[in-house]
């Protein structure tokens, strides 16, 4: 008997396999259960959902019968990267990322019915339309937020598509350039170099910089649009003087530059209400002075993500405290100090001086603008046109980033688009 019955433990082997299988299933259930549950929930739970902008403009709605998008094509196209589509083709759409917010899924209770789930976004669809039209078919990205509250009012990426149009989409239409890509920053990077210098180089205000139009560091030339001759720190930023800022970056040192870039959030990935963004880049391994100089003016291997830039200028505008941007209405905070208060104030003043003394206020009628241009040389004769900044205006506390991919000069191409957007925003 014993000889035979001892062999009964083989049953435990089968039992162990079942338990292992159940454990695997449970892990997958916790991990992917949301996707599984929502795959058929629309058709089978009879739930209906609505996605709308801050003014109640319908961006998408669905019920057991049909999937719908915004009524007019211009809104559908301009807001495509905000809305996404029912197939999840856009990497950043609300329909993809907030699907469960519209369905009430949780691990504990599974999907729960609710007669009509509504999700309101902070986005202003008409502002998005204005922004998209201002880009006029050029590739690029535009972001605008309220730097006091964190509400993201405008997010546009071009090229875009009409989700109801079944024709061949333009190349790269599914990439949200505002979140999912990083670009050579050019001179907007000088804001970061400036902030780093204010905090690490003693007596920045007392220093003066001399520019002959070109400057050699260890035999490598730094080319400038100048000559700007003698200038102080503030004038150097308004002139966007490469010679001065290459020297400033070298003075601050690579270690400090990296440390501050990291602190300002340029090297990390972020999430916008759960939607992931791309990280930027900067030379992290030791490089010599020439390379450090070039990287200090936003060339070299520098890459900046538009959304990270928005967070930075929003913090500068808000005395160094970042109100974390949110796409979903009602979400708020956290409020984190990104930059020292004095630094932020000084930089804000310099950005205002840029507009007043450099670009000309007449370009931005009625706006109390603080900004910085960027023209990022790509080495093939083309350049990214950047314009970023904010309104020093309590009634309209808006921070923005405008990027036109291979669009040309920051002041000539990007700043008029920013002006159009801001004029619409303050109206």
């Amino acid at each position: 008997m014993k000889k035979i019955t001892n062999r009964a433990v083989t049953l435990l082997l089968i039992a162990a396999l079942i338990i292992a299988g159940l454990a695997l299933y449970t892990i997958r259930y916790v991990d992917e259960g949301r996707d599984w549950a929502l795959a058929f929930s629309r058709a089978n739970s009879g739930s209906t959902g609505e996605l709308s902008d801050r003014n109640g403009v319908l961006l998408a709605s669905f019920d057991a019968v049909d999937n719908r998008y915004a009524a007019d094509a211009a809104t559908r196209i301009a807001c495509y990267h905000v809305t996404g589509d029912y197939w999840g083709r856009s990497g950043s759409g609300a329909l993809t990322w907030f699907w469960d917010d519209m369905h009430n899924y949780s691990l504990l209770t599974g999907t729960t019915h609710s007669s009509a789930m509504e999700l309101k976004l902070n986005i202003d669809a008409s502002l998005c339309r204005t922004a998209y039209e201002a880009l006029d078919g050029q590739k690029g990205a535009i972001l605008l937020m309220n730097y006091r509250s964190g509400e993201l009012l405008c997010m546009v990426s071009s090229p875009s598509i009409d989700p109801l149009d079944n024709s061949e989409p333009p190349e790269g239409a599914f990439i949200n350039r505002a979140l999912a890509a990083s670009f050579t920053p050019g001179s907007i990077f000088k804001l970061i170099t400036a902030a780093t210098a204010i905090e690490t180089v003693p007596n920045m205000d007392g220093r003066s910089f001399y520019c002959e139009g070109e400057y050699e560091i260890a035999g490598v030339p730094i080319v400038c649009v100048g000559p700007h001759y003698t200038q102080n720190f503030e004038q150097a930023l308004a002139n966007s003087c490469n010679v001065a800022f290459a020297q400033i970056a070298i003075k601050a040192g690579q270690e400090h530059m990296v440390e501050h870039l990291r602190a300002y959030g340029f090297l990390d990935k972020h999430t916008l209400d759960g939607i992931p963004t791309a990280a930027g880049s900067y030379p992290l391994d030791f490089v010599g002075d020439p390379e450090l100089g070039w990287s200090g003016i936003g060339q070299s291997t520098d890459l900046v993500n538009p959304y990270a830039m928005l967070r930075f200028v929003a913090a500068v505008a808000n005395d160094g405290v970042l109100a974390e941007p949110h796409l979903i209405a009602g979400e708020s905070g956290p409020f984190t100090r990104l930059i020292a208060e004095d630094t932020a104030r000084q930089l804000a003043g310099m950005m205002n001086y840029n507009v007043v003394a450099g670009y000309g206020e007449e370009r931005f009628p009625g706006l109390r603008l603080c900004a910085k241009t960027g023209t990022a040389e790509l080495g093939d004769g083309t350049s990214h046109a950047w314009f970023t900044g904010f309104l020093a205006d309590e009634a309209h506390p808006y921070a923005f980033v405008v990027l036109v991919e291979r669009g040309g000069g920051g002041l000539s191409v990007a700043s008029p688009i920013a002006n159009t957007l801001l004029q619409a925003a303050v109206r």
């Binding site: 019955t5 049953l11 079942i18 299988g21 299933y25 599984w36 089978n44 599974g110």
Partner: protein
């Protein structure tokens, strides 16, 4: 009003989960933590030592695995088998020992010999004296054994199960519908049935009720699934449950006498082959498999009854195993069964049989070589099956990729997984899911239906209930009277666990979808009946004192016909 309903739903969900966990825990504790004591039937005296004879079939030898270990020179590792027959007579067989066996100085021939109290047994020079127990002494020893159910009251567990069923009914009541009176009637009948079983057992002075409780627990989930998916067929399902319990009692009664059991084994084997043959010739094809037989409006699956017959034939007593040291006829019989099922196209059941065959042949022979050989053979046959049968090949192709083709090959599983996840940990409540509307949801994907309606926790409890029965089979095997019961119980649990694994992992896309039933829970007549009959085999291995109606109480009076009395 809505709030009242939703509050009652939350309440009933939590009660169901707590009770499920309690019921399983109590049954597990009762089955596993109770004292299992060997029964003593006789003694062998070796010098001053008194060796107890604790089974009806005992292996005597020098081996550590021998039931009566005689560690002396010239005693073979396995030397002889000592058995007690149904009439209470003891017999001894020489199993090809080198030293030979002498009874009272006479050399034992190949047919063995009956021995009586005081007989001298000589194993290759080592002398033992056989001492049968007197009736008084036997009764005395039996009284000392711990009786079943003294640690965890079976009454309490059944009471918990009853509350569980009432709350399940309450959930159906919240959904409402025209079938509610019928659902209430069927749940009432189930309650009556289980309490009838319990009272009958008490009247027979039997106190082990864990196996039945677990089976009734699974049945109530099955009834709930049927109530939500096919309420119009619910009454039939209930009648089948009653029939299942009746067959359980009948099979159990039949298994009481080993003599009766072994007398008709050949007949059972022929019946199994006959059923399969009839199936091959007369069946109709449903969903790629021709495993259904129709008789004037009633259809049934012969393979489910072949399962019971297969166990009946495949289990064996120890003396038989050692006297004919080969698995040949059993392997042929198994191969015919598996091949017939493959011909029918019921690959899921073929696999269930195959795993059962592996477990039983390993129990019988202990030979890993045999198991490996069989596995290799089956592997090749499986490859052949996949290449010949297009719908099997398709299931293999979509295995692990169901989400890539949710309107084609992955149709059922993707929906099952979605619905299961939509239920969360606590479920949507009985009758409130949508998966029940998908084809075969209440049979092949019943695990997902339970996940959706009752939540993941209760679905896991459901699997745990099956595992609890298997743990018991392992635990009880050690104390069985005859290897027949131990092998049959283990074979039965191998079948049920394989079915469970194929059912749930097929649904979850961890294994190819084979479409076998989940024991007791899947809707279906034949499978329900066969599950109940398999439980009788499990009851046969429960030798705790006064636990099982299949195991007769110890009797030592010579006049009485041993295990015959019913």
């Amino acid at each position: 009003m809505d709030e009242l309903i939703s509050n009652s739903l939350i309440l009933s969900k939590s009660v169901l989960i707590i009770l499920s966990l309690l019921i399983i825990a109590r049954c597990l504790r009762s089955l596993l933590s109770e004292r299992y004591e060997a029964e003593t039937w006789a003694y062998l005296r070796l010098g001053q030592e008194l060796l107890p004879v604790t089974h009806w079939e005992n292996l005597i030898g020098r081996s550590r695995g021998a039931d009566i270990r005689v560690d002396r020179a010239r005693v073979s590792r396995v030397h002889a088998v000592l058995t007690r027959n149904a009439r209470g007579q003891w017999a001894i067989y020489d199993i090809f020992s080198r030293g030979g066996v002498w009874i009272n100085g006479i050399k034992l021939g190949p047919r063995g010999a009956v021995i009586e109290d005081g007989d001298q047994i000589n194993l290759g020079g080592t002398r033992l004296r056989f001492q049968n127990l007197s009736a008084d002494k036997g009764r005395q020893l039996a009284e000392k054994r711990t009786s079943a159910g003294h640690r965890v009251s079976p009454f309490g567990t059944l009471l918990e199960l009853s509350v569980f069923q009432i709350f399940l009914l309450l959930q159906h009541a919240l959904v409402g519908g025209e079938h509610l009176p019928m659902i209430a009637l069927c749940f009432g009948a189930l309650l009556a049935l289980e309490w009838f079983c319990y009272s009958s057992m008490r009247l027979l002075d039997r106190s082990g009720f864990e196996i039945e409780t677990l089976a009734f627990y699974l049945s109530s989930l099955g009834l709930s699934v049927a109530a939500s998916s096919v309420p119009e067929d619910l009454f039939k399902q209930m009648l089948l449950t009653i029939a299942g319990v009746a067959l359980f009692l009948l099979t159990g009664w039949w298994l009481r006498s080993l003599r009766r059991v072994t007398a008709v084994r050949t007949l059972a084997a022929l019946a199994a082959l006959g059923l399969l043959a009839v199936n091959i010739v007369f069946s109709e094809e449903i969903l790629g498999a021709r495993n259904w037989l129709s008789f004037g409006g009633y259809s049934f699956q012969p393979s489910e009854f072949v399962k019971v017959l297969y166990l009946y034939v495949g289990a064996s007593t120890l003396d038989r195993l050692y006297r004919r040291q080969n698995l040949f006829s059993f392997m042929i019989f198994s191969a015919v069964c598996v091949i017939a099922l493959a011909l029918i196209g019921d690959f899921g059941t073929a696999l269930v049989f195959f795993v059962c065959f592996l477990v039983m042949s390993f129990l019988r022979s202990g030979s890993i070589a045999t198991v490996l050989l069989a596995l290799t053979g089956a592997g090749m046959a499986g490859v052949l099956a996949v290449s010949v049968r297009p719908h099997i090949a398709q299931r293999f192709a979509s295995w692990g990729h169901v989400w890539e083709d949710i309107y084609g090959a992955g149709y059922q599983q993707a929906r099952a997984m979605s619905a299961a996840a939509a239920g969360g940990l606590f479920g949507k409540g009985a009758g409130a899911g949508w998966l029940k509307n998908v084809v075969a949801a209440d049979t092949d994907m019943v695990f997902a239906v339970v996940c959706e309606e009752q939540g993941l926790i209760i679905a896991l409890c459901m699997v745990l209930a099956v595992l609890a029965l298997a743990f018991f089979a392992v635990r009880a095997a050690r104390y069985g009277r005859s290897s027949y019961y131990a092998i049959a119980a283990c074979g039965a649990m191998a079948m049920l666990m394989t079915q469970t694994a194929l059912n749930i992992f097929g649904t979850m896309d961890l294994l190819p979808f084979t479409g076998v039933t989940f024991p007791f829970v899947s809707r279906g007549g034949s499978s329900l009946l066969s599950c109940w009959m398999l439980m009788a085999f499990l009851k046969g291995s429960d030798t705790r004192r006064g636990a099982s109606f299949v195991v007769s109480p110890l009797r030592f009076d010579e006049e009485d016909a041993g295990g015959e009395q019913a």
